[in-house]
């Protein structure tokens, strides 16, 4: 439990949704915005995160995605800005 295991910054999209209602106090982006559960290559479990740089209607279960990091890190989960489709 105490060893760090390096995983990839690429992964597979297990599921997704596009939120279309606004609740400004809790939402990181104005709707419509996409959320997904991504299983990183090398990881045993998934992580929920935002999806970006993608046509909302083009998102598919099983898509390969890649993490996009912020230039300036704040120690926040959102230091990963979102996951975008992985170009093959």
């Amino acid at each position: 439990m105490s060893e760090w295991v390096e995983v990839s910054n690429t992964g597979t999209l297990l599921t997704y949704t596009v939120t279309r209602y606004a609740v400004p106090s809790i939402q990181p982006q104005k709707p419509p915005f996409a959320l997904g559960i991504i299983k990183l290559d090398g990881a045993d479990t998934g992580m929920v995160h935002l999806l970006g740089e993608v046509e909302l209607s083009a998102i598919r279960v099983g898509m390969r995605v890649k993490a996009v990091f912020e230039e300036v890190r704040q120690g926040s989960y959102l230091d990963i800005r979102y996951f975008k489709p992985l170009e093959i």
Binding site: T17, T19, V23, L35
Partner: protein
């Protein structure tokens, strides 16, 4: 297990807004459950309240319904969780041998507060809350996952909504009795794909109370106790990414325990009516699979076949279920109350003929993280 019988029940009508306060709602169902049981408040020797601080907007909110539930006189415990867990606590109070008659009261005014903000707070503050997750879009992640694995269609999920809103027309307590079609559901506003407005339960204010007693007292004080034959509960992992959202192993385990206690080997044959927690249309499909009413992935065919309709082999949610009325934390206790009505033969125009054994189910947490199952018998 010693037999414990439910001898009193009451529900308020569920509505988008009820001007009554939390305490007034609790008082209404307390008085009416006592009337239903033929008891007075002095007969109650322990209580369980079901209140949640976030939904009530007060710290230790259960304290504010002390007088309304007569809890200032007796040992009382609060359960912050679905009403089925409140009933479970009441059962445990009685099985301890220390108490005879328990009053369980659940109340909630979902009209107060913003459900998205409250349910966002369910999630991990570092890894999940910041994403704007709430009850609806997390359920959408589960619905997509489940549909994708098994090829369940939006139409099949919509059929659950059509059935339950129609069933609700026969339930005087229901918030949303409606005649709708599959097409109406498919055309309703998309909230978070694939969840549409008519796939979603409403915001409801309401309350429910049940009174249960140990066998010797139940038999002495009431003509028709409805017996608790089995109960089981189990909770799945917390982080959405750690779970397989296409299945409900916690429900399967909870059901297994409840079935074992109740001597149920063949749920389809032995259960006459079921009230399950359909917070969203797809959930009824997932839950009936984990309850063993059909194989995993086959609930779509089941709803298509009409098996769970009022005139089907195993009616599910004759009350209209949670899709027709959703007072959070109350709704699971309401499922128990509805099954009691069915088994007493008092369900009027929503009665399942000849019902002798019923199943009541409640959930808590995101995407049905926790499940509690009761088997009741006439």
């Amino acid at each position: 297990m010693d037999r414990v019988g439910i001898i009193g029940i009451a529900q308020t009508k569920y509505a988008r807004y009820n001007p009554a306060s939390h305490a007034e709602l609790a008082y209404e169902v307390t008085v009416r459950a006592l009337e239903d049981a033929g008891l007075t408040i002095e007969d109650i020797d322990n209580t369980v309240t079901v209140c949640n601080d976030f939904w009530d907007g007060r710290t230790i909110s259960c304290m504010t319904i002390t007088e309304a539930t007569g809890s200032h006189r007796v040992p009382t415990t609060n359960v912050e969780g679905d009403g089925t867990y409140g009933a479970l606590m009441g059962l445990m109070h009685l099985l301890s041998g220390i108490h005879e008659i328990a009053l369980v009261v659940a109340q909630s005014k979902v009209s107060e507060g913003i459900p998205s903000v409250i349910t966002n707070a369910m999630f991990d503050p570092v890894y999940e809350r910041v994403l704007g997750l709430d009850a609806i879009n997390s359920a959408a992640l589960q619905m997509r996952s489940y549909m994708s694995k098994y090829g369940i269609s939006e139409e099949q999920c919509a059929r659950v909504s059509v059935k339950n809103h129609k069933n609700a027309k026969a339930n005087p307590y229901a918030h949303l009795p409606m005649d709708i079609t599959v097409d109406d559901v498919l055309k309703s506003r998309v909230l978070a794909d694939p969840i549409k407005l008519l796939d979603t339960s409403p915001i409801s204010d309401g309350a429910c109370a049940i009174i249960m007693a140990r066998e010797r007292t139940a038999k002495k004080r009431h003509a028709r106790p409805i017996w608790i034959r089995g109960v089981g509960h189990c909770t799945d992992l917390y982080h959405l990414g750690d779970r397989d959202l296409t299945e409900a192993p916690a429900l399967a385990l909870a059901a297994k325990k409840a079935y074992k206690m109740a001597g149920i080997h063949n749920p389809l044959k032995q259960i006459d009516v079921a009230e399950v927690y359909d917070a969203f249309s797809y959930m009824e499909l997932m839950w009936i699979e984990s309850l063993g009413f059909c194989e995993p992935g086959h609930a779509g065919e089941i709803v298509d076949s009409g098996m769970t309709e009022m005139n089907g082999a195993l009616p599910v949610n004759p009350s209209g279920g949670v899709l027709a009325a959703h007072a959070v934390q109350v709704a699971g206790l309401a499922r128990i109350a509805e099954v009691v009505l069915q088994l007493r033969g008092e369900a009027a125009s929503r009665q399942v003929e000849g019902a002798r054994v019923g199943l009541a189910h409640g959930i808590e947490g995101a995407c049905g993280q926790g499940h509690c199952v009761f088997i009741l018998e006439k």
